[in-house]
Subunit: 490 residues, 2 copies
């Protein structure tokens, strides 16, 4: 893109001034529409060192109410951030519905730097590009406006700016060693930047190259593109996007109605013996995966009163509390609902060497959100693919991903509900909603069957835990987890 | 894509049958919705030789009313087709609004064949891929549903099918030499196919790989994806898409109000002398470009009564009638309006060595269609980019592209209108619409200024012909054309 790019004509001073004013007024008006229509806008500003990215952001936000935007300057990842998947810290920054996020450099800067440093070989670079394309597509598919700017200056101009900044004591700190290195290796950088821009230039999140030689003109270009982008996005009330082929390595799952529950029991004795043995083993494995820095993500889904909580306890009972976290997942908080539905999970991922257990999960998208109409059909249809992608990111990062469906039959549920109702100490566990959900058992079962068929992959398989006898289900879970960890640690 | 592709699970016979029936019924119902919503659907079926592409199309169309679809089997381009830009014969086949086009192989087949034959080197291949991506994006941006299937079979399966077909005299004709060659070079073909699929897999026109081992199952996969795709597309009433950066090599143009008209005159004598000289020269150049097979595209736009017709006559007067065509462009016919607005121009391109003169053109999109509300704002805003792309395709093909704006002032127009009104032989030239358009002079002038700024490129520049004195404008046009041809023929 940079190589074929053509410098735009800079307007005369008067025209520039009046167009800039018009754009500023427009943006001021748009922020209200944006809020009404709940449009989230992510503005990524990448470019050469000393190209004026920061000051352009500074100019743009002057026209926006401070409640409606956040600015992040993405530095080199910290040690802590390095222990999460590459995208996690970027995903974290996405704006809420109706608001802006401005990023002063982002994932492009990170990837191209590592490319130039030789940290990323061809294959890893290709994987990163793939992740970025998926990430950006997931945002735009879910109604985000993603605007990507590259602030471009020539080698000569960059050298002059670095010189200018360095001369003055008050501004010298703004010149990084990276900027100087860039200028010395300008052509090589141009090569790498240009390839990245080409690799990630998609119709729904295209790149806009900004001629950054003049600050005012750069601001005008960015402002005008921003206004046009917002106009376009505001026009699309609720957008349906093509469903992609769910071509992940799927494992055939039985229908829930075909899962035999009878006879899946253990005696108290068998249970105690196996529990002890498996928990000891798990404790040992936990230490090893901590040392080897293997991250683990375990998902629990299941019918109300199926015994998820007790099952999770038997797992965590064996674990060092410093090395795991359980995330109970209820309906999203307002600030969570205002973002991409995967956001609250991206921000809860374990560090490597840690275990995260999700008591309910992102699969709510294709169960409760689907059936209660909290998202559109296109949204939940698309979600199978998106969740397979999400787990593939985790797998590529090195995580062990396991998913449990805790299964009981309708009669067992009724028994447990009744028991809860009649036992004062357990009454808090039973809500009216549980009864309402029970009435929809059949539609839920069909949705769950579809979910199991479409999201059980070799790298993140579903396991059904037959839990009419809770002891049986607990031992089965422990066995599956220990086996998976043993395999991963080999 | 093919390398990472995972074979889908084939459902049991009973399930397959019932899902196929459901999909067929759905498609039968969708065709009516499609017609109502004027959705055009382009289905491209590519894949291995003998993979059953044709018979799948045969099955799918059985459920569609014959008035609503066309099937094309794209063979190797003919000698005639080779003399047009690569995309022309494909663009020609796009469906009308509310209808289907099925292509039994298309541009993928053409490109990968030429890649395997060694006709396309890396650079030319990259250019083709670029053209395809632009083409498909232009279709989806303009509301087309584009579904791309790749019918995939293994080397063994292909060999078995070729064997089976060859044995039977009645089917042996269906095996081409290309199929046999493909099977012998399966791995090399796989490499080239896979790269092409990766290179052209975009979010708005993604690839779907079909497991074509079983015919019934292949049909089911294609039908289900087709139905889902139509559902998604029907959901989007009127879609606004991101405006891409107009980064073409633009030439700065003056505003019309700044173009001096006074003094741009010729005496009758000067005119006659120069006309004769230039027409002779043009005639000679026409012969040379015919021999050298250079295509020429000339666009005339201008105010009503500015003298376009007479200007064009002075050009064509010098040309061999076998080597040029004039295309008067009025408002589109129903079958033209039902397609992408560039369709009627893609199908009117000259063969190489020929000259096509357009009396009005695709620029109607950003003048009359814009100002009369015949398209949405997003449509005409996007059109500057699309037309620059279109002309770049022509330029890359080797064409000389010239665009004339025939300029007069408002008073001159009034004089000529009055003259037409008062001269019985000229009355047919003046319509009520001309008067109505005259009332909108100022908004037209602003739109024309914007058009000239945004679409005058180094490879397809606008030239303003000052035509208060028509003689002056004619000589200027002849000079520009002869100079451009001389340059191209050097």
């Amino acid at each position: 893109m940079l190589k074929n790019w053509v410098k735009p004509q800079r307007p005369e001073k008067e025209e520039l001034k009046s167009r800039l004013k018009a754009a500023q007024e427009k943006l001021a008006a748009q922020q209200m529409l944006l809020k009404d229509k709940k449009l989230p806008v992510l503005v990524l500003i990448e470019g050469w060192g000393a190209a004026g990215k920061g000051s352009a952001i500074g100019q743009i936000i002057r026209r926006i109410d401070p409640r409606f935007f956040k600015v992040f300057s993405m530095a080199t990842p910290t040690e802590e951030e390095r222990r999460k998947p590459f995208l996690a810290r970027h995903f974290e920054k996405i704006p809420e519905a109706g608001k802006f996020t401005f990023l002063d450099s982002g994932w492009m800067d990170e990837i191209t730097k590592e490319r130039l440093n030789g940290v990323l070989d061809d294959q890893e670079y290709a994987r990163r590009v793939d992740s970025v394309r998926r990430f950006e597509r997931q945002l735009t598919d879910n109604g985000y406006l993603v605007l990507k700017f590259f602030f471009h200056i020539s080698k000569k101009e960059q050298a002059a700016r670095i010189g200018g900044l360095t001369e003055d004591k008050d501004t010298a700190w703004r010149v990084s060693r990276g900027d100087i290195w860039q200028n010395q290796h300008y052509d090589r950088c141009l090569e790498v930047f240009d390839k990245y821009l080409d690799d990630t230039n998609t119709p729904s999140a295209p790149w806009y190259i900004i001629d950054a030689k003049s600050k005012k003109f750069a601001e005008l270009q960015a402002m005008e593109i921003l206004c046009t982008g917002i106009d376009t996005a505001l026009h699309n009330e609720s957008l349906a996007v093509p469903l992609l082929q769910n071509a992940f390595p799927l494992i055939k799952m039985p229908k829930l109605s075909e899962v035999p529950l009878a006879g899946k029991t253990l005696t108290e004795e068998e249970y105690k013996e196996q529990l002890k043995k498996l928990q000891e083993k798990l404790g040992m494995l936990h230490n090893r995966l901590y040392r080897k820095r293997v991250p683990v993500v375990i998902v629990y889904e299941g019918w109300d009163a199926a015994g998820k909580g007790g099952n999770i306890k038997r797992l965590t009972g064996a674990l060092d509390p410093r090395g795991f976290e359980v995330h109970p997942v209820a309906s999203p908080e307002p600030h969570e609902k205002a973002r991409h539905y995967l956001w609250r999970f991206w921000t809860r991922l374990p560090k490597d060497g840690h275990i995260a257990i999700f008591d309910r999960s992102w699969y709510g998208r294709v169960m409760v959100e689907r059936l209660e109409g909290f998202c559109s059909e296109n949204d939940w249809q698309r979600a199978y693919y998106e969740m397979n992608e999400f787990e593939q990111e985790l797998h590529n990062w090195g995580a062990v991903v396991l998913k449990f469906w805790v299964q009981i039959d309708k009669d067992t549920q009724l028994e447990r509900f009744t028991d809860r109702q009649n036992t004062p100490a357990k009454q808090w566990k039973l809500t009216d909603e549980d009864w309402r959900n029970r009435e929809k058992w059949d539609v839920y079962e069909a949705a769950i069957d579809e979910m199991l068929q479409k999201t059980s992959t070799t790298y993140a398989p579903w396991h059904i835990l037959e839990s009419v006898d809770k002891k049986y289900a607990r031992i089965k879970a422990l066995k599956i987890v220990t086996e998976a960890l043993e395999k991963a640690l080999k």
